[in-house]
């Protein structure tokens, strides 16, 4: 993508906040609730500037009562509002999973479609900065496993804004995960991927479409959020050695765009799935199983999976590095796979 100097660059967090601001401007039913979303602007900056612009009625700091305020968002959505709740870290889901999963995700179905819950739950995911076992998870598959929620995880500022806009306008509950490292915050290690071109005018990016972010013929690497960026780094190195990896950014876990993945595998005949979530019973398993069902005979080698090896995220830098995927590990797996 060539970037001219007239294009506007935003960090991930500003892209999210801009989407929310524009939708709040456009639709008085949209409002935000969560811990420290007000004056603080959200621990991960997702509500930066909103309190100053819209005031405390529509940008509400809450008590540390996730069941209470996410449940309240559900109640408000059922009455015609379009709330956005923030669960500060996805790791806190366990104190409010009943509201997320038994209520938010199921009420539409249980009501036979009579009740709509147009709401967004946004939450921060991801590790890599030694925040340890209770603050570093992605838990992608935990939410994707249970039906009734759209679950999306954009990897670029452009997609963050566009998918947040889509999520707010969607009549279904959407869980939007933003990755801490992709928010472009002043206090995280700066990475290029956390800044990107974001048009000022509102736009939508559909929920449920994967994207080929790099074309290649030798193998397919499927990932989400950080693993896409790691894969791109690995792919650049592989290219130097003559191996052309195709990289697919899933963007959305539910709905899952199987076709884009299958098409890519049909072209490259080799598949590596990379995930920052736990390995077993996770996203890598679903993608691998789906391909083994739909494109088994197109495979020229066994599918490979690279993810956190079924341990809680450890604190120490060395330990965390050992368990998280990274470009180096992807490169190694991809190279072996391509040469298999």
């Amino acid at each position: 993508m060539s970037v001219t100097s007239t294009q506007r660059m935003l960090t991930g967090n500003k892209a999210v906040a801009e989407a929310i601001a524009q939708e709040m401007e456009r639709d008085p039913r949209v409002f935000v609730m969560g811990e420290d979303v007000g004056r603080y602007g959200g621990i991960f900056g997702a509500t930066e500037g909103l309190f100053q612009r819209f005031g405390g009625e529509r940008v509400r700091d809450t008590p540390i009562s996730e069941t209470g305020f996410i449940g309240a968002a559900i109640g408000a959505a059922a009455e015609g509002m379009r709330p956005i709740g923030e669960l500060m870290f996805v790791d806190f889901f366990g104190v409010c999973m009943d509201q997320i999963y038994n209520q938010m995700a199921k009420i539409h179905y249980m009501s036979g479609g009579n009740v709509r819950l147009p709401m967004v739950l946004m939450t921060a995911v991801g590790g890599g900065y030694s925040d340890a076992a209770q603050h570093s998870q992605t838990l992608y598959a935990t939410f994707a496993h249970m039906p009734g929620l759209k679950v999306v995880a954009p990897a670029t500022p452009y997609d963050l804004k566009g998918m947040m806009t889509s999520a707010i306008r969607d009549d279904n509950p959407v869980l939007l995960m933003f990755h801490k490292q992709l928010q472009g915050l002043g206090w995280m290690a700066p990475i290029d991927a956390s800044v990107g071109v974001v048009p000022e005018e509102p736009y939508t990016v559909p929920l449920g479409q994967a994207k080929v972010v790099r074309e290649g013929r030798d193998l397919t690497i499927v990932g989400l959020q950080m693993s896409v960026h790691w894969a791109l780094t690995a792919a650049a190195r592989l290219a130097d050695e003559g191996i052309e990896a195709e990289v697919v950014d899933l963007r959305s876990l539910v709905p899952l765009d199987k076709q884009t993945v299958v098409n890519s595998v049909r072209k490259t005949h080799r598949l590596l799935v990379v995930d920052e979530d736990y390995l077993s019973y996770g996203m890598t398993a679903e993608i691998a199983a789906m391909v083994a069902e739909q494109a088994l005979y197109d495979l020229d080698a066994p599918i490979r999976r690279l993810a956190v090896p079924d341990v809680p995220i450890p604190y120490s830098h060395n330990l965390e590095k050992f368990v998280l995927p990274n470009p180096e590990k992807i490169y190694k797996q991809a190279k072996e796979l391509a040469e298999q």
């Binding site: 449940g71 309240a72 968002a73 109640g75 015609g80 009943d98 009420i107 036979g112 279904n172």
Partner: protein, 329 residues
């Protein structure tokens, strides 16, 4: 006794309707389940939590509610639904799992949703309380004066969701009324074995809001307490916590062996049956003649019978329809 005649009549007729509904459900639920009780069999499968004896709670509060007020109810929801004016035919069809049900047969007895009168319920203890808070928040943000009532059991007052919701409602001074139905048990566990205080209205002080206890399963006393709470909420005066002593005549669910209580207990409870008491009172006060009362009873019975008839004749949903309604289009 300051209940206006039309209200008291409404309360009486509604209590009759509820009682008849629940008794008819005992029979309908029993169909096809015996000789060896099989919970999954018959026209009404699954768990069944009935509210016979708890009618006063529903009518004493709902007498003050409008269609635009919200009610969230727990796993034992029929009395609240009926008192809130839920479409009885579609509700019954839902309980029979039919296509004309409120949820096209997807929800069932514990998951009844009637957005027309802003009623919902659910199978997870205390989970409806935050929904009521959210409804009240919406009402406030939309500049309406609708209120929201969350009904829960006394067992639910020990769940975290109760605490979080009351704090939030009080903090934001929202038009919420939480009504605790103290029927003395959470399934088999008697209140003193679950609750560190004898009565739950004292918990209001943890949120700086008024708390009131209504004893004796008395719909008239509750009517007055609820009036004040609803008026306060509508005026912007914030939430109220009410605990009502009430009586569960049947098992926790149908099929409950009730090993945890004496069979005499219910016999005793039935002696203070509020429906009979209100009837006698109305006659004594000359508020209604025997004929009028019989006409009301007749009407209540008929509405219930029609609901069951409607439910029975409605078709079963086609299997494939299970795949629809996961997402709104």
């Amino acid at each position: 006794m300051a209940v206006p005649a039309d209200k008291l009549k409404w309360m009486y007729e509604t209590m009759i309707k509820i009682r008849h509904y629940e008794e008819a459900m005992v029979d309908a639920y029993g169909e096809g389940k015996y000789p060896v009780f099989n919970i999954g069999a018959g026209p009404v499968p699954g768990e069944m939590h009935l509210a016979a004896g708890q009618e006063p709670v529903a009518v004493g509060v709902c007498a003050h509610l409008r269609p635009d007020d919200t009610v969230t109810a727990p796993h034992r929801p029929h009395h609240h639904a009926i008192a809130k004016g839920v479409n009885l035919q579609r509700m019954t069809a839902e309980i029979f799992g039919k296509v004309d049900g409120l949820g096209k047969g997807k929800g069932g007895h514990m998951h009844l949703f009637d957005p027309e009168v802003k009623f919902s319920c659910g199978g997870i203890v205390a989970a409806g309380v935050p929904h009521a808070v959210g409804a009240a928040l919406a009402s406030t943000m939309q500049g309406r004066d609708s209120v929201a009532v969350a009904f829960i059991g006394e067992g639910a007052a020990n769940a975290g969701a109760f605490h979080e919701s009351l704090n939030l409602a009080a903090l934001w001074k929202l038009p919420v009324i939480v009504v605790i139905e103290d029927n003395a048990y959470g399934i088999s566990v008697p209140k003193p074995a679950s609750t560190a205080v004898p009565t739950n209205e004292v918990r209001a002080s943890a949120y700086g809001i008024p708390g009131v206890r209504v004893a004796g399963n008395d719909p008239v006393a509750l009517y007055q307490v609820a009036q004040e709470a609803v008026d306060r909420a509508r005026r912007g005066g914030g939430p109220t916590l009410i605990e009502v002593e009430t009586d569960r005549y049947l098992g926790h669910f149908q099929g409950d062996p009730e090993v945890y209580r004496d069979k005499d207990e219910v016999v005793h409870l039935r002696q203070r049956d509020a429906i009979q008491a209100v009837r006698q009172q109305m006659v004594a006060d000359g508020m209604a003649t025997e004929e009028e009362l019989q006409a009301m009873e007749q009407r209540a019975y008929q509405v219930v019978e029609e609901a069951y008839a409607f439910a029975r004749q409605s078709p079963n949903p086609a299997g494939e329809s299970a795949l629809a309604d996961v997402f709104a289009l």
